[in-house]
């Protein structure tokens, strides 16, 4: 099981250039892990990994289920671990993006992604220390019930943009967007 000595994730959702990412990384406070998002102009893991190498501290990859089938999700998790990311944050992704006309693919939901990732860790396809977190919501009963389920199933953390899930404080990472200075 992975562990992260932080309660915050500095989130870079939309990365448009290597220079922008490096500048953002320099502004991130201590004891804050970085989270690189798949949105934006730069998204393939290999390129995001080049950005990761320019940054200090632990870096997680936000992995979207959107527009990936389960085969690509599996390879993305393994690739991110092989590249040296400290973990992944499993998210669903914004439904409509680009010109909005592409067929959205949601082969797996976040619960199914979690089971896939945990299975990879169990079979040692990814290191045991590789962090598996799930982006969650709060403030309503079904979202909080699902968040508890993620943790009970074996997720290391849930990650929230705001609010809290009562009783899961020690398992919660707060997502704090960072922007260019």
């Amino acid at each position: 099981m992975g562990a992260l000595l932080t309660e915050r994730l500095a989130y870079m959702a939309s990365i448009e250039s290597m220079e922008q990412a490096a500048a953002l990384g320099a502004n991130v406070p201590d004891k804050t892990a970085l989270l690189l998002g798949e949105y934006g102009a730069i998204c393939p893991i290999a390129v995001l990994d080049r950005i990761r190498q320019t940054l200090k501290g632990p870096v997680l990859l936000e992995l979207l289920s959107k527009n990936k089938n389960r085969d690509l999700i599996r390879s993305s998790i393994i690739t991110s671990a092989a590249c040296g990311f400290q973990g992944v944050l499993l998210a669903s992704g914004i439904f409509s993006s680009g010109d909005g006309k592409a067929r959205p693919v949601y082969d797996l939901d976040q619960a199914q992604m979690l089971r896939l990732a945990l299975g990879l860790r169990e079979t040692e396809a990814i290191p045991n220390s590789f962090i598996i977190a799930v982006r969650s919501a709060s403030g309503n009963a079904p979202a909080e019930l699902r968040a508890r389920w993620y943790i009970e199933e074996g997720a290391d953390y849930i990650a929230l943009e705001k609010g809290a899930v009562p009783g899961l404080e020690s398992k919660t990472l707060l997502i704090e967007p960072v922007r260019p200075a």
Binding site: K66, A91, F95, A137, P142, A143
Partner: protein, 214 residues
């Protein structure tokens, strides 16, 4: 019921540009209810083709049923033999069945949208995506595969906004509705029953249902 939309008439006529003699074929079942292929729409299409020779118009009860189409086309055998093309105001299955039954060039005049639930005329709602792995009995008879834009089988997703769907903010998240309904029924334990991903190896197109002879 199969919900259809009319194609633009000029587009239909363009696809039938080489046909001088045509037959207009309507559907007196689904397309009639949708007012895309009923007798009125058949008449309108015949008028739109007034610059050609309309040999016949016909409304078939279920044009997607090859047995019924075969039977009904016998009523216009002579016109059929003479026709250059058939204009099908039917769903895609109907148009293809007509093509196979008649061996004629068929122009599809409708776009097929979805399998719909009819609330009343003009109010059709998609409630089933025919995924082949129904979980309605665990989701209080609300289909998340259809009612969630992301098709989430274990929800809600991370985008839920209060009680609303992330994609359609004026609609309740279906997983919020499922939670409410299961709570009312005292069946909340069903909420976190894990639903495995759909096994697409069993869902390749084209699907078939062929009864074995006993």
């Amino acid at each position: 019921m199969i919900v259809t939309r009319k194609k633009d008439v000029e587009t239909v006529k363009k696809h039938a540009s080489k046909a001088r003699k045509v037959i207009i074929v309507g559907c007196s079942e689904c397309a009639a209810i949708c007012r895309t292929g009923g007798s009125e729409q058949v008449r309108e299409m015949a008028e739109a083709f007034s610059d050609r020779e309309v040999l016949a118009t016909i409304s078939i009860e279920s044009p997607c049923d090859k047995r019924i189409s075969t039977r009904d086309f016998k009523r216009i055998e002579e016109e059929l033999a003479d026709a250059d093309a058939l204009i099908a105001l039917t769903c895609g299955s109907g148009a293809q069945a007509i093509s196979e039954v008649t061996g004629k060039r068929v122009v599809a005049a409708l776009d097929t949208d979805f399998v719909g639930m009819v609330e009343r005329l003009g109010r059709f709602y998609e409630r089933c995506s025919h995924c082949g792995e129904c979980i309605l009995n665990e989701t209080a008879l609300l289909c998340p595969v259809t009612l969630c834009p992301k098709g989430v089988r274990n929800g809600p997703c991370d985008g839920i906004k209060g009680t609303a769907c992330e994609v359609y903010e004026d609609r309740e998240c279906v997983w919020h509705a499922i939670h409410s309904r299961l709570t009312e029924r005292g069946e909340l334990e069903a909420f976190t029953v894990y639903h495995a991903p759909v096994d697409w190896s069993e869902c390749h197109s084209p699907k078939e249902a062929v009864w074995e002879r006993s």
